[in-house]
Symmetry: C2
Subunit: 479 residues, 2 copies
């Protein structure tokens, strides 16, 4: 749409005055906006097709100055902005509300990798850069950006920062928060917060970038990020172990951390029922061990080649001690990929097997094994016919705790709501979080208000009101 073109008469009626939309399109710059329904459509629904929104206008700025102009214009006209990255979210955080009151702001055209500093182990990227592109750029310099998740081919850095994304390497490297050295964002008044310098030590008062991380766009719009990199590990030592319980898995993790001096990169818990689903539904997968086991651990150590022997010796000792029942150590890159493939195919295999209510929860790490078993028993006894499948990031205290419908059946919305309420109550009682890595968005907003301590909620609301008094930043998300 040309910057100064009037909104077409065929544009659906919206909450915004036409002149506001014209001004926003002008602020985005020539060619950087659209009212075309076909172009808008994929931005208005999430990939799981659970959240359908409406927006009369899609803004796609190319520069930080254009984002600032958009925010100032939105503030002047009182129009809410809904920032969106790769639209890979799971909680509706990047989808406009169904009443069409918000305008979509896609960061996808701000995707440059601005610079890499191999000596300083940092990379400056724009918010719309895709995670996989970042991985590849780091690898070109013998470095790694140590955060990865299934959506890496679509997820953008801005979205990953705004949701404080997790993944399979959090155990060692932390969530996105720990990997952000610096950040640039447009604040709700259009002013620029520029902390891109990425100073490892900077104690000039409150660290404002920490507020933007995980705020899901409700406090400002992340436009660029300075990422921390690590040397690419020389070797990945990967193994699959069969064991009797989550308790044994946690004990194994503690041993491996000590034996490897903290170089355990991933430690994923997979139940026997989960492995069975993968073998049943995903072609080309094969069982890693001869016998069936109630639980499995997928282990990766990353660092010097000597870790292969560290892992072999640790698993040998664990076998002798009866801590694990069996194990296999990957001896080639192909075997590494085969073991990881079993874990990565678990979510799709589960979806192929039938419907489930999904939960992304965490509890204190030490409590995870007991919680996993007790919550499973509680849910399965209280929800007749349900079958829990709990898997994921044991070392982070983070489980994907999914409640499957009886074979051939499904959950109606009331059942699903009751299940989620039960799981979230159990998690809260265990001192845990109803959102480990996916965020709150609109999906968990009501349960957040129900379960977060009032003092915590009040402080969050005070901060939101102080920084975004007009309420134009992704309203209705989180709070």
């Amino acid at each position: 749409m040309p910057a100064s073109a009037p909104i077409s008469p065929s544009t659906p009626a919206t909450a915004q005055a036409p002149e506001a939309l014209v001004a926003l399109a002008a602020a985005a710059g020539p060619g950087n906006s659209s009212t075309d329904a076909d172009e808008l459509a994929p931005h208005l629904i999430d990939w799981r097709r659970k959240h359908q929104g409406r927006s009369a206008l899609l803004l796609m700025p190319r520069t930080t100055a254009q984002v600032q102009a958009i925010v100032r214009t939105a503030a002047a006209h009182g129009v809410p902005l809904v920032p969106q990255g790769g639209n890979t979210g799971l909680v509706g955080g990047g989808i406009p509300s169904a009443d069409g009151s918000g305008v979509l702001l896609s960061l996808k055209r701000m995707a440059a990798i601005r610079s890499i500093d191999p000596a300083g182990l940092t990379m400056v990227v724009e918010a719309g850069a895709i995670l996989q592109t970042v991985h590849e750029a780091a690898a070109d310099h013998g470095l790694a950006f140590p955060l990865s998740l299934a959506a890496r081919g679509s997820a953008t850095i801005g979205g990953l920062v705004s949701t404080n994304a997790g993944g399979v390497q959090v155990l060692r490297h932390g969530t996105m928060r720990a990997l952000v050295a610096g950040l640039q964002a447009v604040l709700p008044d259009g002013e620029l917060l520029d902390q891109l310098a990425g100073l490892p030590k900077d104690n000039r008062g409150y660290d404002l970038k920490q507020l933007l991380i995980g705020a899901e766009g409700t406090l400002g719009i992340v436009t660029a990020v300075t990422l921390k990199l690590v040397p690419a590990p020389a070797h990945r030592a990967v193994a699959w172990a069969g064991l009797a319980s989550p308790q044994a898995a946690l004990a194994l993790l503690a041993r491996l951390r000590a034996a490897s001096a903290g170089q355990v990169e991933s430690f994923e818990l997979v139940p026997g029922s989960g492995l069975a689903l993968v073998l049943k539904h995903i072609p080309g997968q094969r069982a890693p061990l001869a016998d069936a086991h109630d639980w499995h651990a997928l282990i990766e150590l990353a660092g010097p080649a000597t870790l292969q022997q560290v892992l072999a010796e640790s698993l040998g000792a664990a076998l002798e001690d009866g801590l694990i029942a069996d194990a296999t150590l990957a001896e080639s890159g192909a075997q590494v990929e085969a073991l990881w493939s079993l874990r990565e195919n678990l979510p799709p295999a589960e979806r192929l097997d039938g419907p489930a209510v999904h939960h992304d929860i965490s509890v204190p790490v030490a409590r995870l094994p007991d919680f996993c078993l007790a919550a499973t028993a509680e849910v399965e006894s209280r929800i007749p016919g349900s079958r829990v499948i709990a898997f994921g990031h044991l070392g982070d205290g983070n489980l994907h705790f999914n409640v499957r419908a009886p074979a051939g059946g499904s959950w109606d919305p009331d059942q699903a709501a009751a299940i989620t309420r039960l799981v979230h109550d159990l998690v809260t009682a265990a001192g845990g979080s109803i959102s480990a890595e996916h965020g709150i968005g609109t999906l968990k907003r009501a349960d957040l208000a129900r379960l977060l301590p009032p003092a915590h909620l009040a402080a969050m609301r005070a901060i939101k009101a102080a920084l975004d008094p007009l309420g134009i930043m992704n309203p209705g998300k989180i709070l």
Copy 2:
């Protein structure tokens, strides 16, 4: 003072009504307060004796509930509270104002180590616990708390969190912020923010603990912290290298990080003039290398014993390539301590040699070598007779940039102010920070207001007003 005792008539006149002081003492609990001038005196001046404050009352609660009662009482009476830990700060952040308007709140009686979770690598400690005690408790379990600094025998965890402390291991493990898994704090309305569960993954909205970290007590009172621990390294490989420039030092650091897969624990830059001061003033020290060098690097790798060979080979290659001029590798624990002693004695040696104006600054790591040389030249040319000594945490971009007076002379206050202004202007122009690890307190408050971008300052002020509308939390510090 008994909880209900009236304030003695000999108590100096203060800004507070006597009934407010009585109520605060009652809130602290029996025996947990004092108006004794001798008992108060050491809390009212910092250890460098640069900031002298006044307070009619010292509160020393033993429980979190008592801290909550104190804060509610302070809010009811409009009395500012000044939290204090080990009183080892360098910027006056824990010292009450000279007008006596604030009341001192010492956390020193809340010093328990509540629990250690060796499997989860965490420890829950109260705010008043001393750093060295934490180090020892971790070591008892074969673990380490990887933050250390010269004041470790007095500095408390609450103070270290509230100032986001740094030290000599930030290069690998980050500042205090990166080592806080969870936190409990009393907010300005007396409500408790309890995030002690220390969930590695928790995306329930804004991460409020990040605001308390580094806030110097201006947004609430940290009462307990869940610290992250690491496996105690099996081996410390330590070396001292002589080299021609900070640029060579940064290149060496990059090589070592790559060769050790990121296991460089410390990398300290020491100028030849600094080593000379240590050898001159501190008994029992000796030169680590045969010849004099313009610059030195003190290097520590920590992890498996194989790192000794990694370090030896890396230094050998660096010698062959001409990147360094000479090096010595510690072959025993005594040699490790001897090399570290040279670095740790640099600040006291400098003080013994004569007066200086001290600066704790950081710039982007890649720019540090050029900045170090250019800023030294600029200061020495513009301040006649000055001699710069810049040393410290090269890999963090953090220098202690001290401007020494001419031999036998000293700086008058106007000269000192002009020097600091010049250094802070140079740092800001280089995209750096006027406070790398010591905080703002009262010492740097005016320069923060002068040099921080207005949008950044405005956001900080909005947050402060939103969370502490009565302004009772350590007013006059930072903002």
